[in-house]
């Protein structure tokens, strides 16, 4: 059981980390609470299904195509829907909720409400420290690790990353220093949704694909982001693994734990917030007026 917890917590934590880091990025740079974030993750799963199973495109071509298509769609939505109302915080909020609903319903109409299966990229299982792990789950781990390193490199070692971090730190000063803040915000949307799309593509063969699959990771992701501190990437990463392991422990070690896994994870988030209202790694913002 201990090994089960170890492996499944690692995999879930990795997927959550991809989602939470994307959400954090977009919040930090553009102050957008993007409820539709996991809806893009769902869209990527469906895009892969559409290309691979319905369209018959080979896997290695289908994966990048799905990711690119979802990112393009997100940029379109950002330009058409979010940017016109960005000054009104509440309007942005329900605009993203409405977007998520639109995606959910369009998928329901075009693919139906039943679960869809996507074949594994590589069949077979391998035994690690006594636990049988399918190759697909190993691929998830590998992709997550590569993506996380690539994101770290992008943010910390490139000019674009510097611009993103600068505008997350102080939008006005970044603007004064000659950065095109609006364009940086757009790049951030692209990167953030790209991370969600990669997560969606790799988990599609393992998790169930249905039009409501965005809701449960959404709640977990929000819990992680609040737990780690809004806008803090380090916090999101560590928070993701904390929640991933908490869920794994509840499922494997507590009776009727699969019902309670969400409740336990969320209770931990609230406990942490009671002690540190700004989350584990959040910065205490000056009162924004």
């Amino acid at each position: 059981m201990f090994q089960d917890i170890l492996i499944s917590g690692l995999i879930n934590g990795g997927v959550y980390a991809l989602l939470a880091i994307g959400f954090s990025l977009i919040f930090g740079v553009a102050r957008i609470v993007n409820i539709a974030h996991t809806a893009f993750y769902m869209l990527a799963s469906y895009a892969l299904y559409g290309l691979l199973v319905v369209g018959g495109v080979p896997l290695l071509l289908a994966i990048p195509l799905a990711v690119v298509a979802v990112v393009a769609l997100s940029l379109l939505c950002y330009k058409l829907v979010i940017e016109p109302v960005r000054q009104h915080e509440s309007a942005v909020l329900i605009a993203t909720i409405a977007l998520a609903l639109i995606f959910q319903e369009s998928l329901l109409v075009s693919f139906g409400g039943h679960f869809l299966g996507i074949p594994n990229a590589v069949e077979g299982v391998v035994s690690i420290i006594g636990v049988r792990v399918s190759y697909q789950r190993l691929i998830i781990l590998l992709v997550v690790a590569i993506t996380l390193v690539a994101t770290w490199y992008l943010l910390n070692r490139t000019r674009l990353g510097l611009a993103i971090r600068a505008s997350a730190n102080d939008q006005e000063i970044a603007n004064l220093m000659g950065m095109n803040v609006n364009r940086v915000a757009m790049y951030t949307v692209g990167i953030s949704v790209g991370l969600a799309a990669i997560a969606g593509v790799v988990v599609a063969p393992v998790f169930v694909v249905d039009p409501l699959m965005w809701l449960s990771p959404l709640v977990t992701m929000l819990a992680i982001v609040v737990l780690g501190g809004l806008g803090s990437l380090k916090g999101s990463l560590i928070g993701a693994f904390i929640i991933g392991y908490v869920e794994a422990i509840t499922v494997f070690a507590v009776p009727s734990g699969s019902y309670l896994k969400g409740a336990v994870a969320l209770s931990i988030m609230i406990l942490v917030l009671l002690i540190r209202p700004e989350g584990l790694f959040g910065v205490v913002f000056e009162e924004e007026r």
């Binding site: 309007a91 909020l93 329900i94 909720i97 409405a98 959910q104 009727s256 896994k261 409740a263 609230i270």
Partner: protein, 349 residues
């Protein structure tokens, strides 16, 4: 004789000088009369049932506005209060066999207590942290309900509850009259001294504290009041549909109420009510037409999105600015037909 005439005279004066001078208030008056008179003229049970549900959700949306719109504590888990009201009421009548007239107020009071309890951790949070953290509470309760299916009925919930009164028209009047009274009460709270402090907390909490106002107490008050009204609507909902299930705690319901309230215009009370009266029947009508049945939620989302792109403040503030003018001197409102402020005589426009 004179004393007898005094009351109608006073009422007529109030009506003329407070209600009929403003187009928005006249509209509310007409809508109230239409709602109250509708079953006398037109008693199609399907329509009456839809309006009953609309009235129940209107209370719910207005209670969100009282908390989130006025105080700025944007609550993403408002379904908690709705669900607590529904489940308390249902459990009491199912396990103890109490009558609805008793379980409704108890459900509301328990939801009020839930509002108080949720308010305590939320005192330390602000802004987006608060919104995202509150999302957790209804989900924690759902998890607990699923873990004890013998007590709570699990995924099916508790069914076979008693109606408040027998008959469609009776239920219609219970819901509509309660809605009118409670929403007027909430509007009055928003207009009172307390409401002013709620506005101040949203605008600038630090300045509010610096003025000697105990903001902690007022924030808790907002949570408690909001929980009370939302709990009552949840209990009404359970007794009207005769079932209290986990769907009353869903994330979708929490989002729904946010959409209604922001669509209508926040910090107004009447905004969310009007939004529910437009959007809820709209989704029901779309569901009844064969062509739109599959895509009704899609249409709903698209309509909300389009309206928002043109009126980011919400629907009712936009309309209100068209039909009423704000006096530049005394900040009171006058009808759009006037050239001078009705109270201070300053030139409008």
């Amino acid at each position: 004789m004179k004393a007898l005439l005094a009351l109608p005279q006073w009422l007529w004066a109030q009506l003329r000088h407070e209600v009929l001078v403003l187009p928005s208030r006249s509209f509310v008056l007409i809508a109230t009369i239409v709602l109250l008179a509708l079953p006398l003229a037109y008693d199609d049970p399907y329509v009456l049932r839809i309006i009953t549900m609309t009235a129940i959700f209107a209370i719910f949306a207005a209670s969100w506005d009282l908390l989130a719109g006025f105080t700025g504590q944007v609550n993403f888990g408002h379904a908690l209060f709705f669900g607590v009201g529904a489940y308390t009421s249902a459990l009491l009548s199912h396990h103890l066999g109490w009558v609805p007239w008793l379980t409704l107020p108890i459900g509301a009071v328990v939801a009020m207590a839930a509002g108080f309890l949720v308010g305590i951790p939320c005192l330390r949070l602000r802004g987006s942290y608060l919104s995202l953290a509150t999302l957790a509470f209804p989900l924690i309760l759902t998890g607990l309900l699923f873990a004890f299916p013998d007590f709570s009925g699990g995924e099916l919930g508790i069914s076979g509850l008693k109606r408040v009164v027998i008959g469609t028209i009776g239920n219609y009047y219970v819901a509509v009259v309660l809605m009118l009274v409670l929403c007027f009460g909430m509007w009055k709270i928003g207009d009172s001294h307390t409401g002013l402090i709620f506005h101040a907390i949203r605008e600038d909490e630090v300045a509010c504290r610096a003025s000697g106002i105990n903001t902690t107490r007022y924030k808790l008050l907002a949570f408690t009041l909001s929980g009370l009204f939302a709990g009552l609507s949840g209990a009404l909902f359970a007794h009207f549909l005769r079932v209290a299930g986990p769907s009353s705690l869903e994330v979708a319901l929490s989002f729904q109420v946010v959409i209604w309230a922001i669509f209508g215009g926040v910090a107004t009370i009447y905004g969310p009510v009007i939004a529910v009266f437009l959007l809820y029947p709209l989704t029901e009508i779309l569901a009844s037409i064969e062509v739109f049945k599959e895509i009704r939620l899609l249409m709903f989302a698209v309509i909300v999105l389009l309206v928002l792109l043109f009126m980011p403040q919400g629907l009712t503030p936009w309309i209100r600015d068209k039909i009423e003018l704000v006096c530049p001197r005394c900040k009171n409102r006058s009808g759009f037909t006037r050239h001078q402020c009705r109270l201070c005589g300053a030139e409008l426009r």
